[in-house]
């Protein structure tokens, strides 16, 4: 049985369509991340599930029960908000107890659940404080605890880490992953940060402009991006997208790059690639720096970023096309150096004119 099921969900604000005919099934206990750029509608989709927005078309089921006509409090979901939304006039303890009291949980039971959550999230020291007396990270833990004590069927997170500093964000991310392993409750997590998505998700739902671009495991989304949008949104540094002319070379596709270099790939040939406007996708880690006379294509290093464990080199092909490439951490490349590029054709992606991705191996 599906934990959450959306079928044909649409949402308009006035004349503006924000979610357009979205269908999605989330398994019981799955951790799903909605990933997409700002304004793509991922919060709206989450809020539709929560009941904070009314949908215009479609249906939402949680645990097999249709919920889209139920008020938020009756859907058995808990949500963690980006700005915490803790009740400012209540102590931390009352914040945790508020929802339980409203649904008639006994005071004994409330005490027990709070004790468990307090231990899990280490917030025991400030149970009697008001939210105004807590740091951002502490508030976030209280907000998560407030969701946990409700023992809901479904957790919803709307960019809960975006107000934390980098170190705390990384730590909380790990804690959330552990929490999911312990609770095994279905979770939906909204973010525009692809690192959060990659590290937390069982499956990622990539959303762009009102619709789902791809649903898949982090590795699928990274290795077999369904569209050029997904390819460019997931992965840092960003994938290189180069306009090419593709041709059939014995059943496999070969791509002629703007500088004339012919790159042989292991992507099965498809007539859709023959039309104008095919795009070659190369991840930086698959374009490596070699000696000036080696590799498939000569290039000139323009900008060099040394990150320690690896070096990012922005290199220009003969025609000026700029590629993001990688070298070893101890690279000696200097800006202006002539280098060769060793391009891994087996890891290349091709996108047809309509953006559809084609990848090596069976589909």
């Amino acid at each position: 049985m599906a934990g959450v099921e959306l079928s044909g969900v649409s949402k308009r604000f006035g004349d503006v369509s924000v979610i357009d005919n979205v269908s999605l099934e989330i398994a019981q206990g799955e951790f799903v991340v909605f990933l997409g750029p700002s304004g793509c509608g991922k919060s709206t989709l989450l809020r539709l599930v929560a009941g904070l927005e009314q949908l215009d078309e479609g249906a939402i089921l949680i645990d097999g029960n249709r919920v889209d006509n139920l008020p938020p409090g009756k859907r058995d979901v808990a949500m963690v908000f980006q700005h915490y939304a803790l009740y400012p006039h209540m102590t931390v303890r009352d914040n945790l107890a508020f929802g339980l009291r409203n649904t008639g949980v006994s005071e004994d039971e409330i005490g027990g659940r709070i004790a468990t959550a307090v231990e899990k999230l280490e917030i025991g020291d400030f149970l009697q404080r008001r939210p105004g007396q807590l740091s951002g990270g502490q508030k976030q833990r209280v907000a998560i605890a407030r969701a946990i004590v409700k023992q809901p069927k479904l957790f919803l997170f709307d960019e809960p880490l975006s107000n934390l500093d980098a170190a705390l964000r990384a730590r909380t991310r790990i804690e959330l992953a552990q929490l999911h392993q312990q609770l095994r409750t279905t979770m939906i997590f909204v973010t525009h940060d692809q690192v959060e998505a990659m590290t937390l998700a069982d499956r990622i739902v990539v959303i762009n402009e009102r619709r789902i671009e791809q649903i898949g495991t982090p590795m699928e989304v990274y290795r077999r991006p369904a569209t050029s949008f997904v390819a460019s949104f997931v992965g840092t540094p960003k994938i290189n997208l180069v306009p090419v002319t593709a041709a059939n070379a014995g059943g496999l596709a070969a791509a002629r790059m703007p500088d004339g270099t012919l790159l042989e790939t292991t992507i099965p040939w498809d007539e859709a690639l023959a039309r104008d406007g095919a795009t070659l996708g190369l991840r930086p880690e698959n374009v490596r720096i070699t000696g000036a006379t080696q590799g498939q294509a000569p290039a000139t290093a323009r900008v060099v970023e040394r990150l320690g464990e690896r070096t990012i080199v922005y290199a220009a092909l003969a025609d000026g096309t700029l590629l993001t490439t990688e070298d070893r951490g101890d690279s000696t490349v200097q800006p202006g150096d002539e280098v060769g590029l060793a391009i891994d054709g087996n890891a290349a992606h091709l996108f047809a004119a309509d953006g559809t991705g084609h990848h090596a191996g069976a589909a």
Partner: protein
């Protein structure tokens, strides 16, 4: 040397801070403190149209408390404050809660309820005279329509002050309403969303989210209304002129008549000092009570 530099710096900071408040401070002293001092000085004298005749110490105050009319106007004023201030707070809040919506209707109604505030007291009392007129007034017409006996609101001791209170509430409800509306709009929307997800009923949400969030505004409204309603004057003068039988004569009307009709400036000034003290005490008591409850 560093320390002395720091010392100089902080002295400069202190004085430059003073510089910023100086214009207001000057106005405050000129417009408030000076008249207050002059008023108090005046209350210790006996004089007439042509000026101060003699210093009399606190004799004016003694006379005031021996004057049964003055004692009655104090009770009248307190009665009026009790009738109006809680009503302003409660009705203002209810109106704000009802009209705190995005709809066009709510916007129109907000404008209507606020509109009466901009009318002058003359217009307001004229309107309400037409309502309260014993025979042809709107209230009488309505009473006749339901077969009840029309009441002469303004000429009965029992109903005159409540009638003035109703007039005043109708006139002034716009101010508390907009203050509450502004406060309601400051409450973050995600608090309501969290409460909805926490299964809170509307009543629970009002009690646990809305009311605590606007507590400061409630205190402000009550203090402002205390200050305003203690100074009842125009409505009472124009609707009943203090009658019947002095039952609607407020302190300010008493001061006005003592000072500008009978030219007992010292006597009027003394009554004004007492009014000032009453307002100050009431406002401070309200502030004290609410901040005590806040801390608890």
């Amino acid at each position: 040397m560093l320390a002395s530099q720091q010392g100089r710096r902080s002295t400069w900071d202190r004085w430059s801070g003073m510089l910023f408040v100086a214009p207001y401070l000057l106005l405050f002293v000129l417009m408030l403190v000076v008249p207050l001092v002059i008023g108090f000085r005046l209350s210790l004298t006996r004089g007439d149209l042509f000026g101060i005749r003699e210093e009399v110490g606190f004799a004016n105050y003694g006379r005031l408390f021996a004057d049964p009319v003055f004692i009655q106007v104090i009770w009248n004023t307190l009665y009026f404050v009790v009738l109006t201030v809680p009503a302003f707070a409660v009705l203002g809040l209810l109106l704000a809660l009802a009209l705190n919506q995005q709809s066009r209707w709510a916007a129109v109604l907000r404008a209507i309820f606020f509109a009466s505030t901009v009318l002058s007291v003359t217009v307001v009392t004229l309107i309400w005279r037409l309502v309260l007129l014993p025979e042809q007034g709107l209230a009488a017409v309505l009473a006749n329509a339901i077969g009840a006996e029309p009441v002469a609101f303004l000429s009965s001791q029992a109903t005159a002050m409540p009638a003035i209170a109703v007039t005043t509430i109708w006139w002034g409800i716009g101010l508390p309403m907009v203050l509450f509306l502004a406060a309601l709009q400051q409450v973050p929307r995600d608090l309501y969303e969290a409460a909805a997800l926490d299964g809170a009923s509307r009543w629970r949400t009002l009690r646990s989210i809305t009311l605590p969030s606007i507590k400061r505004t409630m205190v402000l409204v009550i203090i402002v209304e205390i200050i305003l309603q203690f100074q009842l004057f125009g409505q009472a003068q124009l609707l009943t002129n203090g009658g019947p039988n002095n039952s609607t004569r407020p302190i300010v009307l008493f001061i006005y008549e003592a000072g500008w009709k009978q030219w007992q400036l010292g006597y009027a000034a003394a009554a004004a000092q007492i009014l000032f003290a009453m307002i100050a005490i009431a406002a401070m008591a309200q502030y004290y009570v609410s901040s005590r409850r806040d801390a608890a």
